[in-house]
């Protein structure tokens, strides 16, 4: 059976034009997908059943026993951390936030190691963004700053920017100018009309220089800034100011480099300067599928988008203090629930060491690096393959995903709801 208009559950593009061929309860073909989508659907190898570590060895347990043990670990903890959430749907994320409130826990999502600094900057100066549809139909200048979409969001260029014909941009490849800013040459920089190669750590200085040029202060610019010539910056500023509609997309090259949130703030303020001349927008390239949704869901319920601490009985947010990497490196949490993510692979080693020291429960369909650190793992259905739910695209558009078949695994929502019910009963609330 072929299912049309399937939403890809891999990156923040949430491409919704895939055609997936299903035979009973497995996927046997994918059309329109990128390499990442094909691997997501076709290379799907799951953990078969819940597993528990006893001493140094592992044994299989039932779902009921795993749910009981997971709830008991969280109830016994004084400072639990509930981390992850970006690979699952909004309904499960919502239960996670309520569970955190019930436990007095810290709940954090993968923004903490991707666009957390972008959110901090947006909280300072706002977000002049737009949907990807606006970019596709209107933008004649595209800037990718510290981002490599060909590797990280392989269809971003073909669906929305470089190669995507739009209502006002009839021949995109000829009519759109593409500018790439990065510290290294990438496949994305190879297709750019202008590649600005910045010295490591030089993004803030380049952004400041461009702001000055856009403000008409060309005479203040020295011959070379962070490895970039003044002439190239003048040329790029002119391209941007002459655009009918420009769109900046920025990646982790800004959020993880020296300056972090201040880099992003400067980029937003450059966008503001450009809006004195023309229409310009700026948006983060959200990576991990429904990470934007986790920010939305956390914010609806708590007022804060990530790193929310309920230890005081109310929601408290302070990046640098209540963020997962900081809590783990300080050895502060005494239990961790990991949902739909892999901090064992993606956090610094010192954090992984603390996850191995404390009871760590993982809810995830696959064996990953965190599995080896965990005490308990509960496999679940994959949202968008054998579980349904709502996810947010990188531009904040919610999209409903469907089940492609009825599988044998419970969803994140079912497992978390059962853990929540047991914790609620134990707390007597």
């Amino acid at each position: 059976m072929k299912v049309e208009d399937v939403v890809c559950p891999f990156c923040g593009c949430l491409c919704d034009d895939l055609v997936v061929e299903v035979d009973q309860n497995r996927v046997i073909g994918v059309e329109n997908g990128c390499t990442l989508a094909n691997e997501k659907f076709m290379g799907d190898r799951r953990l078969e059943n819940p597993i528990r570590k006893e001493g140094r060895s592992w044994s299989d347990i039932t779902y009921d026993a795993a749910i009981r043990e997971a709830a008991d670990i969280l109830i016994d903890a004084d400072r639990p951390l509930l981390y992850g959430w970006s690979g699952t749907h909004g309904e499960a994320q919502s239960v996670g936030v309520h569970l955190a409130e019930l436990l007095g826990a810290v709940i954090d999502n993968t923004s903490t190691v991707c666009h957390g600094p972008s959110i901090m900057a947006i909280q300072e100066v706002g977000h002049p963004g737009c949907t990807l549809g606006q970019v596709k139909n209107r933008a004649d200048v595209i800037v990718y700053w510290g981002a490599n979409p060909i590797d990280a969001h392989p269809r971003h260029m073909s669906r929305y920017t470089t190669y995507a014909d739009g209502f006002f941009v009839k021949e995109a490849f000829k009519e759109r100018k593409v500018i790439v800013v990065d510290v290294r040459k990438t496949e994305s920089s190879a297709v750019a009309d202008e590649f600005i190669k910045v010295e490591r750590g030089g993004d803030y200085a380049i952004l400041s220089a461009l702001r000055a040029i856009v403000r008409g202060k060309r005479d203040l610019i020295p011959p070379k800034i962070a490895g970039v010539t003044r002439e190239q910056l003048f040329r790029v500023a002119d391209i941007c100011m002459q655009a009918k509609f420009g769109a900046i997309f920025f990646g982790l090259g800004l959020t993880m480099s020296p300056g972090k949130n201040k880099n992003v703030r400067n980029a937003i303020e450059l966008t503001e300067e450009l809006n004195r001349h023309t229409k310009f927008t700026i948006s983060p390239m959200r990576g991990h599928w429904n990470v934007y949704g986790s920010n939305e869901v956390f914010t609806w319920i708590t007022g804060y988008p990530y790193a929310v601490d309920f230890a005081r009985g109310i929601a408290f947010y302070n990046p640098g203090e209540t963020t997962s990497v900081d809590i783990l490196r300080r050895g502060e949490c005494d239990a961790c629930l990991v949902v739909a993510s892999d901090p064992g692979a993606h956090f610094p080693r010192a954090c992984a060491e603390h996850l191995a020291r404390i009871p760590t429960i993982q809810i995830d369909p696959h064996v990953n690096a965190t599995t080896h650190l965990a005490t308990l793992q509960i496999p679940v259905a994959v949202t968008g393959i054998d579980a349904e739910g709502t996810a947010y695209r990188m531009d904040g558009v919610p999209i409903r995903t469907r089940k492609l078949f009825d599988g044998t695994y419970p969803s994140d929502l079912e497992i978390l709801s059962k853990i929540y019910a047991r914790v609620k009963e134990a707390k007597g609330s």
Binding site: E39, R56, T112, D151, F347, R349, E353, A369
Partner: protein, 129 residues
């Protein structure tokens, strides 16, 4: 040799991200992309093993040449090999310095560990299933 370690997504890393125990994931996550001249200076060839060390620890990786990198710059895809070297300090932002880790690189004949081995070094217990 001293170098600055940069990390980021590669399409091969993304392709195997849900099969982290696989040889293909290990191959990608342990590839140290380097400038060719730096490789000449270290007297290593593509596929040779190197010990990469930061103030957080050391891990064995596999050298491979990259066209887009300046001398003194190395790149490893995000994952447990790179994160063996990254400092967890976030300077009050919640975000470690994933793009700028100072490392030293020297040739070695030691084997490249599996992801499971790295997690066991962190105190975990490898799951073989």
């Amino acid at each position: 040799m001293r170098a600055a370690l940069n990390t980021g997504r590669t399409i091969r890393q993304g392709s195997y991200v849900e099969r982290k125990n696989s040889p293909a994931y290990r191959e990608e996550a342990s590839s140290l992309h380097m400038n060719r001249v730096d490789m000449l200076e270290l007297e290593i060839e593509e596929g040779d093993h190197v010990c990469v060390r930061s103030d957080q620890g050391a891990v064995v990786m596999v050298a491979c040449p990259a066209e887009g990198l300046d001398r003194g710059e190395v790149f490893v895809c995000l994952g447990p090999f790179a994160n063996f070297l990254v400092d967890p300090e976030t300077h009050g932002t919640g975000m470690p310095d994933f793009k700028t880790t100072a490392v030293t690189i020297e040739p070695t004949t030691a084997p490249v560990p599996a992801v499971k081995d790295l997690m066991e070094q962190c105190g975990g217990s490898g799951y073989e299933g």
